[in-house]
């Protein structure tokens, strides 16, 4: 990866009626980055992607990709962007093969010239190439959509929630495909509501309510988590969480799988003291120091972090 700025986003805002979808977003993305936009539905990810792919206009602010303006130079940009929308948008009544040929011809590309780019993905689809897109499973539709977005060899690939509703294993495999594509020099923007996918990106923006809360490498975001974090565990988990929620010594308590992640109101409090106090009520309790993950950071930056 080099340090050349490839995408420059400057104070972009977008609203739909009373809903402020994007609120003064500014951000730079480097060439050949695998960049993740992480946030729940309604964070503004799709609106930002549609502006960058020249499909909608911002209310204010502007963005350039490789120096081209997303409003003025949209014709130029469309040739060089591959976009996979969140909703499956291929032709349901065309076969796998027909969809791929159609998208190649729309962009004036030859399937055989760029086949090397999609080969490793397409080989899973090859046995079904005569099948209509409507009859494919979810995982195969996703692979076909990715192939169609890539077949004109774009410089920029924009993927809107490609892994939503996809099982944990297939999601992992999809990310391996993206890493491989990055090796071909393509810059990739990808959005996801799954916090655990952040660690697979070069850099991420955590988004909520139309704003970017932080932009950094996933490693730096977790390393900068400001509090000491502990994992409390008991088989009586719902009793434990109720107890932690009313304890004034606890700043935050959130369920994380089989444990509850907690931070302390006063970090000088010895954790062993808290543990032995709480053990009077929950005898099998254990509390251990733990490392923050992206979801801890997201919760911390949100408005509901400290107990009211």
């Amino acid at each position: 990866m080099n340090n050349e700025i490839y995408i420059h986003i400057d104070k972009i805002s977008k609203s739909y009626g009373n809903v402020q979808a994007l609120d003064q977003i500014s951000l730079d993305i480097k060439k050949n980055e695998l960049f993740g936009f992480i946030g729940p539905d309604g964070a503004g990810k799709t609106s930002l992607f549609r502006i960058l792919t020249t499909l909608i206009l911002p209310n204010s602010g502007n963005a350039t990709i490789d120096g081209y303006d997303t409003v003025k130079d949209y014709k130029m940009l469309r040739k060089n962007i591959g976009y996979m929308p969140g909703k499956f948008s291929l032709y349901q009544d065309l076969t796998v093969e027909e969809n791929l040929n159609f998208f190649a011809s729309v962009f004036g590309a030859k399937l055989k010239d760029n086949y090397y780019l999609i080969e490793s993905i397409y080989k899973h689809l090859e046995p079904f190439k005569k099948r209509r897109a409507a009859k494919l499973s979810g995982g195969m539709k996703q692979k076909l959509a990715l192939c169609c977005a890539l077949i004109h060899k774009p410089d920029l690939l924009v993927l809107d929630e490609p892994t939503t509703g996809v099982d944990a294993v297939s999601r992992y495999e999809f990310w391996i495909m993206l890493k491989n594509l990055r090796e071909n020099g393509i810059t990739i923007l990808v959005s996801t509501p799954y916090m655990d996918e952040a660690s697979l990106c070069d850099r991420v923006a955590l988004m909520q309510n139309g704003k970017i809360m932080i932009v950094d490498t996933p490693q730096a975001i977790v390393a900068n988590y400001p509090y000491k974090l502990f994992a409390a565990k008991s088989i009586h988990k719902s009793d434990l969480i109720s107890l932690l929620e009313i304890d004034p010594r606890i700043r935050s308590a959130f369920a994380f799988g089989e444990t509850i992640h907690i931070t302390l109101a006063n970090e000088k409090l010895p954790i062993t003291q808290l543990e032995s106090d709480l053990k009077l009520k929950i005898t099998d309790l254990t509390i251990q120091a733990t490392e923050a993950n992206i979801e801890d950071c997201f919760l911390m930056m949100g408005t509901n972090y400290e107990k009211s």
Partner: protein, 246 residues
């Protein structure tokens, strides 16, 4: 386990579409007040099984009792005794909060007074006081999903089926949603839930994992992790579905 009363009994459930076997001899029970996680890879057959349990589709063979009713012969009686919500469809977007609640109240055959009491109760529970007259499409997704869940258990069903209820929901609301699930289970409603968030699998009392039409694992998260010698449900899932990845 919350109780020994079985509310779902599935014995040798088979569902075929032409030559394709979507559900291959499923056998399992779900108990009253249990939070039962129904996991599996995409295409493993979860949706097919869930549609049969909800009375929306008939089994090819097997004996399936849901809330005491036979899924092959009494699907309409099953529908009266269950609630259902999914991420994809929950409430009517172009109706207000109040209109949705009234509409579902009507469908479930509640009286006008019952609906009134329920509206007050729910608005308090979901914490959306003042928004009764807003259109659903104007609500943030988290509230929408919490409200949809409240509506799905509105008529005190024996079982509520939740199909990826927390997809796309922010981490804070996701946790609130699960606390609503626990409350429902405590009140005796059995919760049958699918999810792709593996941390949520840990919140279930028991979890079944489907692969290629079969149930390949069924136990408490604790026991499954022990059995597969791993520390998270995510790793259990990977070990079962794609062992070559570990």
């Amino acid at each position: 386990m919350k109780s020994h009363n079985k509310v779902i009994e599935v014995e040798n459930l088979v569902k075929r579409f032409g030559d394709f076997t979507a559900n291959d001899n499923l056998t399992f029970d779900v108990y009253e007040g249990e939070v039962f996680g129904f996991l599996g890879a995409n295409g493993a057959g979860k949706t097919t099984a869930m549609r049969i349990l909800c009375g929306l589709s008939r089994p090819t063979s097997g004996k399936i009792l849901v809330a005491g009713w036979d899924a092959a012969t009494h699907p309409e009686d099953i529908k009266k005794n269950i609630g259902y919500m999914s991420q994809k469809f929950s409430l009517y977007e172009d109706m207000t909060v109040k209109e949705n609640i009234r509409f579902y109240g009507g469908i479930y055959g509640l009286s006008r007074n019952e609906v009134k009491t329920k509206i007050t109760e729910m608005i308090e529970k979901v914490g959306i006081g003042g928004l009764e007259n807003k259109l659903i499409r104007e609500l943030p997704i988290g509230w929408k999903q919490k409200l949809a869940f409240a509506v799905a258990i509105f008529h005190d069903p024996k079982i509520v089926f939740l199909d990826e209820p927390t997809g796309g929901v922010d981490p804070f609301t996701r946790r609130q949603f699960w606390s609503m699930i626990y409350d429902a289970a405590k009140s005796g409603i059995t919760v049958f839930v699918t999810t792709h968030y593996m941390d949520e699998a840990e919140y279930c009392d028991r979890v079944s994992i489907m692969d290629e039409g079969k149930i390949v694992a069924l136990d408490t998260p604790e026991n499954l992790k022990k059995m597969y010698g791993v520390s998270t449900m995510n790793d259990v899932f990977i070990k079962i579905v794609r062992p070559e990845l570990i």
